[in-house]
């Protein structure tokens, strides 16, 4: 069993989805247990894989046992899965978050999409399978297929929501297809030049034949970069994200917001580290008077500032959080491109932290909307008194987003700021601090409304949009909603306290890489 753990991570949700297709359509009550069971198996397999990585380091799993051909390392002829400390960490995040959101979905899915329960859980499991597969695969084309699996399911998961959600799903289809097609095209150019599809082999061929100067490889690099930027909603390619996340059903938002953008950032790091190599990624200039590192870090600074400013002006809770995600994407992209180990460590650590911060906030907002029926920030009037426990969890999430110790948001931001100073990218440091300040303003404004209730001038939010409002407001928060919320809030503190261990894991995977000397 232990050896087969890597494939079980992907196969468990995939077969779970098939099982729901056969059984769940007849017996609706079985959908959630099957989902939970499949995700638990996936989580167990992930933990097993993680332990293997901890004891043995990076390893490769050959699907169907297709051995590599040729002498030395040889050329791969089958599809491989490759796990190192970073991908194991991301896999753990995917498995944990999807299981927590599945528990959370118990009452929400029944309330919001009562006639589509089996289809919803089927898509849910397929999305998790796609994301996990993208993280673990070592094959560039296999990554495209899994990318499309996760994209198609997420379009559908958004479209089951309200009237506005359908429209945002359509825009997401258009943007997402452009992104995925760019990726496919990039892989095509890599294939023309190298003749292989395995990521490590592509890198080996590029290095062995000195192809770095080849225009085809440079075109492939730009296309793949554009593709992952569209998919991760890197400003200014973010337009699909806010509406898609804020109008979708509660569970969809809570699943996609922590995972989809974060997995895409992992894919970007993977492309930089494994396929093109850091040396190539940071130095390739296409004959222009800038290098990639400076350009991308500047773009990320703009993304951080723009995301924060747009978040500040929103009155809808989920939309405000969506714009904060866009700013956070800027953090991670910038950190990865700072071209030093500290920045890269911060970026990977922030992937983990941001997944749990976003999860905590989206789960809390889901509870608020389920209880009050009001998606606006103003609807949080006096909530500390009404639901103190949920509000406490929300506070932990918000403090982590601002970056206060001992929550994990502080420590990853510390690494990012440190990396920025080391690289001499002062605008990035400034953007990070600015964004922290804006987050503080946003969240303390919410705390004020929630702690000191005010008489509202327009106290009738129910009749604003009959389609967008949840079906019925709950009197009590069910345990299935509060438990995942609290686990995610505790995880935020836990990830902060064990920051040294986590950064050491990340460092063990990054240790062998050669980083660019600090930009002068």
């Amino acid at each position: 069993m232990g050896e087969q753990a890597p494939i079980a991570i992907v196969l468990a949700p995939l077969f779970g989805a098939l099982l729901i297709a056969f059984v769940g359509i007849r017996f609706k009550a079985l959908c959630l247990p099957v989902t939970l069971g499949a995700l638990t198996v996936s989580l167990a397999a992930t933990i097993e894989t993680f332990r293997t990585v901890l004891s043995e380091g990076e390893f490769i799993y050959l699907i169907s046992g297709w051995e590599r051909l040729g002498e030395g390392k040889g050329i791969s002829i089958g599809i491989e899965y490759r796990v190192d400390a970073i991908s194991a960490l991301v896999l753990l995040v995917i498995a944990a978050v999807s299981l927590l959101v599945a528990v959370y979905s118990r009452t929400r899915v029944v309330a919001e999409t009562p006639d589509r329960i089996p289809y919803y859980y089927m898509l849910y499991l397929l999305l998790v399978a796609g994301l996990a597969g993208m993280t673990i695969t070592n094959d560039a084309f296999n990554l495209f297929v899994l990318l499309e699996i996760s994209s198609l399911t997420s379009y559908a998961l958004i479209a089951v929501g309200s009237r506005r959600a359908v429209l945002s799903a359509f825009n997401y289809v258009i943007m997402g297809t452009i992104g995925a097609s760019f990726y496919l095209l990039g892989v095509g150019y890599l294939y023309i030049k190298t003749g292989v599809l395995n990521m490590e082999d592509i890198h080996a061929v590029i290095v062995a034949n000195d192809l770095a100067e080849s225009p085809s490889i440079q075109v492939a690099f730009v296309l793949i970069l554009m593709a992952v930027w569209i998919k991760m909603a890197f400003f200014p390619l973010h337009a699909w994200l806010p509406n898609a996340y804020s109008y979708s059903p509660t569970t969809t938002g809570a699943l996609m917001a922590p995972l989809v953008t974060k997995v895409m950032i992992y894919i970007m790091i993977r492309m930089m580290v494994t396929v093109f190599g850091l040396d190539y990624a940071f130095r390739a200039t296409l004959g222009m008077p800038f290098n990639w590192s400076n350009l991308v870090v500047s773009l990320s600074s703009i993304a951080i500032v723009a995301g924060s400013v747009m978040a500040l002006s929103r009155r809808d809770l989920k939309k405000m959080l969506s714009y904060i995600i866009i700013a956070e994407v800027g953090y991670m992209v910038g950190g990865a491109w700072l071209a030093n180990e500290r920045g890269m460590t911060g970026a990977v650590y922030h992937i983990v932290n941001d997944a749990f911060m976003t999860l905590c906030l989206f789960l809390a907002v889901g509870v608020f909307i389920a209880r009050t029926g009001d998606p606006r920030i103003a609807g949080m009037n006096g909530l500390f008194k009404k639901m103190p426990i949920t509000m406490a969890a929300f506070t932990i999430g918000a403090l982590s987003m601002i970056g206060l110790p001992p929550t994990c948001g502080f420590f990853s931001k510390w690494y990012l700021v440190g990396g920025g100073i080391e690289a001499g990218q002062w605008h990035f440091v400034g953007a990070l601090l600015f964004s922290s300040l804006v987050n503080a303003v946003i969240f303390f404004r919410i705390f004020e409304i929630a702690y000191f209730p005010k008489e509202l001038s327009d106290p009738a939010p129910e009749c604003t949009d009959p389609d967008a409002a949840p079906v019925a407001t709950l009197q009590r928060t069910p345990l299935s909603m509060s438990l995942p919320l609290w686990i995610s809030a505790i995880a935020l503190i836990g990830l902060g306290i064990f920051n040294h261990t986590i950064t050491q894991w990340i460092g063990s995977a990054l240790g062998s890489l050669k980083f660019f000397p600090p930009a002068g």
Binding site: F141, F144, V145, E148, L152, Y155, A156, A159, R163, R164, V166, L167, A169, F170, V173, I174, T177, I178, S181, L184, L185, G188, Y191, I192, L197, R314, R315, D316, K319, R376, T464, D465
Partner: protein, 138 residues
């Protein structure tokens, strides 16, 4: 004329795919009607399939099937296998998957636009946006 001979004629497959891709992308971004956007999407994806299929082709090569059903004692026609005699099957196989993916995307997008039509009564983007403007927004 020299430009045409050097850059267009020997690489015409790439030119065709780029032109097709740009037509598709223009339709996806600039067209007002959602069905026209989807037709653009189909053209866009087909252009990439054309690109992949064309890179597997070799001059004077045959379909990649090895003949194992020879009479005993006969010299094996394909032995040893000469790669230059066969087209590269891998890009074609990859495109089988990509075609399935693009069909699935198109089907899903059609289903979504059907749902949009039921909700808004139109598939023109302008009309839908003006309807949304009348609704309360954040």
């Amino acid at each position: 004329m020299e430009f045409v001979e050097q850059f267009i004629v020997p690489k015409f497959n790439y030119w065709i795919y780029v032109v097709l891709m740009m037509i598709g992308m223009h339709a996806m971004i600039a067209k007002n009607n959602f069905f026209k956007k989807l037709i653009g999407m189909a053209i866009f994806q087909t252009a990439i399939i054309l690109f992949y299929v064309s890179i597997g082709v070799k001059e004077g090569a045959n379909i990649p099937i090895l003949d194992h059903h020879m009479m005993p004692g006969e010299v094996h026609a394909n032995d040893p296998v000469i790669a230059a005699k066969f087209t590269n099957p891998l890009p074609h196989v990859l495109m089988l998957t990509a075609i399935v993916v693009s069909v699935a995307t198109l089907g899903l997008a059609l289903a979504i636009s059907q749902k949009i039509y039921r909700e808004y009564g139109t598939l023109e983007e302008d009309d839908i946006l003006s309807q949304i403007k009348l609704e309360p927004n954040d």
